[in-house]
Symmetry: C2
Subunit: 203 residues, 2 copies
């Protein structure tokens, strides 16, 4: 085997790749998905060509970048799903996942994104969905969650709060927690007096 003798990539290439990921991590987290690959290159102190040699396309960079974030989101969901108290697990998962998004504009963009988005994000959602499903089912059995709450609602709450974070994190990064509280109160079993009509025509 030549694997020890000849490293698969040259030393400088490896260094630049690391530099690139670091710079991209930094920029995407603080600025968001709108950063240019030219920006990333400059931030890393290399040329654009180098970026494209390591990551054939912008999405490839993003995938490499968010792979671990998304993995840790799945982790969080797994832990939450393991909680014997469905309600508590659900609340913790919401808290964890939103907390993760406060510090990372790019991640937010990825989550809120309506478009097909990166296959990575899609896969992550597919991994997490059954876990959320479990929490919701458990909470329903335990009678702590309002009966008309569905697993998909968790995802929509995340989208909603991401939008609030987007609008407020400059001023007050944790303001969103107040609205998270509001949502959580709304999720509770036993609250729904005076139901809203299902479609506004009836108003």
């Amino acid at each position: 085997m030549t694997d020890a003798a000849t490293p698969l990539i040259r030393k400088d290439a490896a260094r630049n790749r690391a530099l690139l990921l670091e710079a991209a991590e930094d920029l995407y987290a603080t600025v968001g998905l709108s950063v240019t690959l030219k920006d990333v290159a400059r931030h890393a102190g290399v040329g654009v060509g180098t970026v494209y040699r390591h990551f054939p396309t912008k999405d490839d960079l993003l995938d490499a970048l968010f792979a671990d974030r998304l993995a840790s989101a799945t982790d969080s969901a797994r832990k939450a799903a393991a909680d014997p108290d469905g309600w508590r697990g659900l609340v913790r998962y919401l808290e964890d996942s939103m907390n993760m998004q406060v510090g990372n504009c790019g991640l937010r963009g990825l989550v809120v994104c309506t478009a097909p988005s990166s296959p990575l994000a899609v896969r992550s959602r597919e991994e997490i969905a059954p876990l959320v499903q479990q929490m919701v089912a458990k909470a329903h059995q335990q009678g702590t969650l309002r009966p008309d709450f569905e697993a998909a609602d968790v995802y929509y709450i995340q989208i909603a709060l991401a939008a609030i974070i987007e609008a407020t994190y400059h001023t007050d990064p944790y303001l969103y927690r107040h609205h998270l509280k509001l949502f959580i109160e709304g999720m509770r079993a036993g609250g729904h007096r005076e139901p809203l009509p299902d479609s506004p025509e009836s108003l």
Copy 2:
């Protein structure tokens, strides 16, 4: 006066302006703020030059377009503020304003927009803010609103729900009403047992 004798603009100009507004209305509502002025021109059956003669910049078109929408939002707020029952007014205002956004992608973009956005949208917000303030104050006096709910929260709820609508209206335009319900339940006075810690560090 020559106003009756010589119309301020030529007949064809007037017709094209109307055509343009109609086309823009249509496109912005169904596609969103991303439509190109070239698209609008094509849709209206005129050249781009004509668009720019009538509306020097894209924002001018948008302003002309959304002026009446925003006015009707203010109306809705005024009516809601007039309701002697603060809670009911608040709920109605939320319902009205969100219902307005379901059918109009462009409007949604304008509302959610974090950036300075058009001066028109800003003015509209400034007009509506004191009305919302009134509703909230009244509901607080009447003890129907949770004590830590502030007027600004109404705006954030709108942003949050707009994001949900954005993600779901293709599939089910009124799904957002379910989440509106959740928010409304969370707004109620008397719900907040087990408060969330204010910042996640404590978790």
